[in-house]
């Protein structure tokens, strides 16, 4: 797969998913403590989470960081905008700002039917 195609697919996830979490592992099998912290923070705010595992191909992380300008994993996007990594999301969850951000972006009733899902950027959507 070309870098450009990978980059396009990552961009598409960021732009179309209400909440995108790029992480090491999946919500069912988290492979890093920082990804776990970000996931738990999103769960505590009742967010619908679309997770992308960056581990299957080193190109995913590279393309993602080029797009976002953010060096580390995890990365959380809400409504297409980078919110930050584990430290930021955890802090925003603790102050209630994460829920406010989710309401602002997804609407007041975002908690209803909030689901977690995993998507791959290595195969066509």
């Amino acid at each position: 797969m070309t870098d450009e195609l990978l980059s396009d697919r990552i961009k598409s996830v960021i732009e179309t998913e209400p909440v995108a979490l790029f992480m090491k592992g999946t919500p069912q099998f988290v492979m890093c403590g920082n990804s776990e912290r970000a996931l738990q923070a999103l769960r505590s705010a009742g967010a619908p989470v679309t997770a992308v595992d960056i581990l299957p191909d080193p190109g995913i992380r590279q393309a993602l960081s080029e797009l976002s300008g953010w060096p580390t994993i995890p990365q959380v996007f809400i409504g297409g905008e980078l919110v930050g990594g584990a430290d930021i999301v955890q802090e925003l969850a603790a102050t209630g700002e994460l829920a406010e951000k989710l309401e602002g972006s997804l609407g007041d009733d975002y908690r209803e039917d909030a689901q977690e899902r995993v998507v791959s950027v290595l195969v066509p959507a």
Binding site: N34, W70, G85, D87
Partner: protein, 76 residues
């Protein structure tokens, strides 16, 4: 390594009232970075962390840092 990172941060944030780097695991590659600076006043957390990430881009790119936890504070 903690001393090296602190020196880089002090140079990048000469106005900071606090620069502290902790080796979280003792292994020399997991760090807690704490910076308190008036430069963070009025900036979002994302912007604050970006400034710290930018300051530490070189050591991070070298692969010697496995994990950075960042805690930033303004002084206002």
């Amino acid at each position: 390594m903690t001393g090296e990172l602190e020196a880089i941060l002090r140079e990048a944030f000469p106005e900071a009232s606090e620069v502290h780097v902790t080796d979280r695991t003792g292994g020399g590659d997991h760090f807690l970075i704490e910076v308190t600076s008036p430069r963070f006043d009025g900036l979002s957390l994302l912007e604050q962390h970006r400034l710290v990430n930018d300051a530490l881009a070189a050591p991070f790119a070298s692969g010697r840092i496995h994990e950075m936890r960042i805690k930033t504070k303004g002084t206002a």
